[in-house]
């Protein structure tokens, strides 16, 4: 009935020692970080020496992996089953520190100090939009170069567009090729070459304009900054290019993470196309938070019809017995605000008075032990059916959304992960997700 796509096989992906980098990308709020962490746990327990690089994990997820501080150093995750010979490290990216480290590593102490103290540098490195992407790429390059891990799992930054991650090296490249920076750094040099006239006009206009726009002190700060960064930029760019090529090379796999919602899947589709354009190897799509039902044979329509019937009977019975009617009263008054402030109980019951309902049930049991609490049971059954109808509607909607993606990209392997009622915050939860990613296989290799 629904469209089929090839199954994304996670275990072979994790087990293949030739795979050294897995990048999880996708729009915000689809469980990207959780997926990356779950893959890390599973890879480690299947024998890989893995490290997970997360950008901005939710606090409790970070704690589940033993990350209590943002210190930019991979820390070993305790509680991993190491019987297969693997291990797991995890780290959170600290943009400013990564940037500072690069500066210190690639310039002499005096110049490094000049850069670190430059006000322009200080606000740039503190992480405006965009800096995260550069630094994530930089850190990935560093981790790969250290060669202490045989598998690096990267969680991409929560960008305004998930694509920024790929664009970072290119932007840096185009900036460094730009004449603007050369003008800023060494105006005199440029003037000495061919095309003197044009450039001179450009120059005077430039300097005037910039002074006018920025104010002289800011321009001076930027010039100092750019001059100080000059030697570093070259290395910066070489490394960014190298990381970019690394992402295209065999040994890297991209996983697009999405939820079965229109926007998330639209972004995922865009990402799939973009990866193809950039010759980046796509392993497949992880579809998180998919709902299912153990009673899928019962349609929403039939469930609703049956629920109505049961509710009618329950109402009849309540009327038929004075005692029941009185006690069941609160349970029937649908629509009032329940479920906390601003609750929106729409259907079966409103704000029930718990105690009274329970008393009512107990009273029945005492006085008429052999009779089941009919009205109560009917109402419960009706509630279960309404719940099921809602679930089936969700299932159908998610299926439609998923199918739309599959019709456009039938070639993309996919694995679905069931929605959980709550968030994951321990290794056990991550293991469970890992199992789902691997179609229910236990972790042991």
């Amino acid at each position: 009935m629904s469209l089929e796509s090839p199954v994304l096989e996670i275990d072979p992906l994790l087990d293949d020692r030739k795979n050294r980098i897995i990048v999880c990308c996708g729009s915000g709020g689809v469980g990207k970080t959780t997926t990356a962490a779950a893959l890390g746990v599973r890879a480690a327990e299947r024998g890989r020496t893995a490290v997970v690089l997360t950008i901005d994990p939710a606090r409790r997820l970070a704690q589940s992996m033993g990350l209590t501080e943002l210190d930019n150093t991979p820390r070993e995750v305790a509680g991993i089953d190491r019987s297969a010979g693997g291990s797991l490290h995890a780290m959170m990216l600290d943009m400013k520190r990564t940037f500072d480290e690069v500066v210190v590593q690639h310039s002499d102490p005096e110049r490094a100090r000049a850069i670190l103290e430059n006000p322009f540098y200080q606000s740039l490195s503190a992480g405006f939009a965009g800096t995260q992407e550069y630094m994530a790429m930089e850190k990935l390059g560093q981790l790969r170069a250290q060669d202490a891990w045989d598998l690096i799992i990267v969680d991409t930054p929560p960008s305004r567009s998930a694509l920024d991650f790929l664009d970072a090296p290119k932007r840096l490249g185009s900036f460094l090729d730009g004449r603007f920076i050369k003008l800023l750094m060494a105006p005199a040099k440029v003037g000495g070459r061919a095309g003197v006239k044009f450039l001179n006009i450009g120059m005077s206009m430039m300097t005037g304009t910039l002074n006018k726009v920025m104010g002289a002190s800011l321009l001076r700060d930027i010039q100092t900054f750019v001059a100080a960064m000059d030697t570093m930029f070259g290395g910066f760019r070489t490394r960014a290019d190298a990381t970019y090529r690394l992402l295209q090379a065999p040994g890297t796999a991209f996983l697009v993470v999405a939820a079965p919602e229109r926007d998330a899947l639209r972004e995922a589709a865009y990402f799939v196309e973009r990866l193809a354009d950039e010759d980046m190897p796509l392993a497949g799509l992880v579809l998180n938070r998919v709902h299912g039902s153990g009673a899928a044979q019962l349609t929403a329509e039939r469930a609703l019809a049956a629920a109505e019937e049961l509710e009618d009977w329950a109402a009849d019975e309540a009327e038929g017995s004075g005692e029941s009617a009185e006690s069941a009263g609160p349970g029937e008054s649908g629509g009032s605000a329940g479920g906390g402030p601003g609750g929106s109980d729409v259907a079966l019951t409103g704000k029930n008075d718990d105690r009274r309902i329970v008393d009512h049930g107990a009273g029945h049991a005492d006085s008429r032990q052999d009779r089941p609490d009919d009205a109560g049971t009917e109402r419960l059954a009706a509630g279960l059916l309404r719940l099921h109808a809602e679930r089936m509607q969700v299932v159908a909607r998610e299926r439609r959304t998923r199918d739309r993606f599959v019709s456009v990209h039938p070639e993309v392997p996919m694995i679905e992960v069931t929605a959980l009622p709550g968030d994951v915050h321990d290794l056990e939860g991550l293991r469970a997700i890992g199992e789902e990613l691997a179609e229910g296989q236990p972790a042991a290799a």
Binding site: L61, P119, G130, R179, K212, A295, G331, A347, L380
Partner: protein, 393 residues
């Protein structure tokens, strides 16, 4: 309007814009993330970098939309403030624009916030504000404080000159009671945690926090008593009896046989499992609601639209926001006070223009003080918008 990724902040921003337009206001809905989310929601073609009407309401209200492109905004800005048409093009050729909008991304945020504030302060020929309200679909919660505060940073960097002055003028608008930053969340742990962190950051930065809007609220389909039963251990003796009774009830309702292995009997376990999940979720949601209530901010709720958000759904959400606008003095977390007469506008305070140019921004920041005496600190925060909205027109 901010919120964690995936919480539907674009949808909520668009709904708020529609709700305001339905009140007869001229509204500008701005998007800054170059995603064309507004065009998708309103089912129109991609928006160019120009203000374009995308919806109108009776009573003269209308929604105009603008998708800001950082690079064009830069040229626009240079042209407007410095009359730099030609030099602007030269800068572009030299890669300066590219530099400014990508490599030094802070400048990008300066441009975006600057453009928004320009729209807020824009006047027509008669001196009336062009827009009654500007709704900004802003970057996500994790980035919002830095985004809005970027001009403070810039004012510190460029210690004098036009950039410094411009940055300060923008900050004055953003920190004035004309502005309210609303946070969209879901009733899930991570978005709520991020909302709480975001509110703390915004407050620390002195930026005016508006309301928390809980989006995609799902109905609670079981009463408390049934929820309690559903959450019980399914192995208990009472549960066994209940299973049989439920099977019988399902069978009576025409869903097949109740005996062991019968069609109805086989439904019971999966249905109870779903109820169990539902009960867990309801408990979690109540915890999240309590956490949100602890912020002491006005809270609004928008129901989950079963079939996803289409244009019709957007109008339904807008309607829901209008109905939930409560009188100024109501307690912060009150969801039950909805349906009141529409006069308080704690949601509706996205930057009401009343200042003039950049030079009079001081006045703009001071002008709209509340004529009605605030009753409590929270009430003051809530009530601040009303007078600002209808302020000195």
């Amino acid at each position: 309007m901010t919120g964690k990724g995936g919480t539907g902040k674009t949808t909520v921003a668009a709904s708020l814009a529609l709700a305001l337009a339905a009140e007869g206001r001229r509204v500008l809905l701005v998007e800054v993330e170059e995603r064309q989310g507004i065009a998708q929601l309103f089912e129109t073609e991609a928006l160019p970098y120009e203000e374009r009407r995308i919806a109108s309401a009776s009573g003269g209200g209308e929604v105009n939309a603008l998708a800001i492109d950082a690079e064009l905004a830069m040229l626009d800005y240079l042209e407007m403030f410095y009359k730099l048409g030609r030099a602007g093009r030269a800068l572009r050729k030299l890669g300066a624009i590219d530099f400014a909008t990508t490599v030094a991304p802070g400048i990008r945020d300066v441009l975006l916030t600057g453009k928004v504030c320009e729209a807020v302060r824009r006047k027509d020929k008669a001196g009336w504000p062009v827009y009654d309200a500007v709704v900004l679909d802003a970057p996500p919660t994790g980035r919002i404080t830095r985004f809005l505060n970027v001009n403070d940073e810039v004012a510190g960097l460029a210690r004098m000159g036009p950039i410094h002055n411009q940055a300060q003028a923008v900050m004055r608008v953003l920190k004035s009671p004309q502005t309210a930053i609303h946070l969209v969340t879901l009733l899930e742990e991570m978005p709520v945690q991020e909302t709480m962190d975001g509110v703390a950051e915004l407050r620390a930065a002195g930026l005016p926090v508006g309301a928390v809007i809980v989006n995609m609220v799902r109905p609670v389909l079981l009463g408390d008593a049934d929820l309690a039963r559903a959450a019980e251990d399914s192995g208990a003796v009472a549960a066994g009896k209940r299973r049989t009774a439920v099977a019988k009830a399902l069978s009576q309702a025409g869903l097949g046989g109740a005996r062991r292995g019968g069609v109805a009997e086989r439904l019971v376990d999966p249905l109870l499992a779903q109820a169990h999940e539902h009960a867990q979720r309801v408990v979690l949601e109540r915890e999240q609601r309590a956490a949100i209530a602890g912020l002491g901010l006005p809270v609004r709720e928008l129901e989950l639209l079963g079939d996803g958000v289409d244009l019709g759904g957007l109008y339904r959400l807008a309607d829901s926001l209008r109905k939930q606008a409560v009188p100024g003095g109501t307690q912060a977390a009150g969801g039950d006070a909805a349906q009141g007469p529409y006069d308080g506008e704690d949601l509706y305070e996205a930057a009401y223009p009343d200042g003039a140019g950049p030079d009079t921004a001081d006045e703009a920041a001071e002008a709209p003080e509340a004529p009605e005496a605030p009753e409590a600190p929270e009430a003051a925060q809530e009530g601040a918008a009303g007078p600002a909205a209808d302020g000195d027109l």
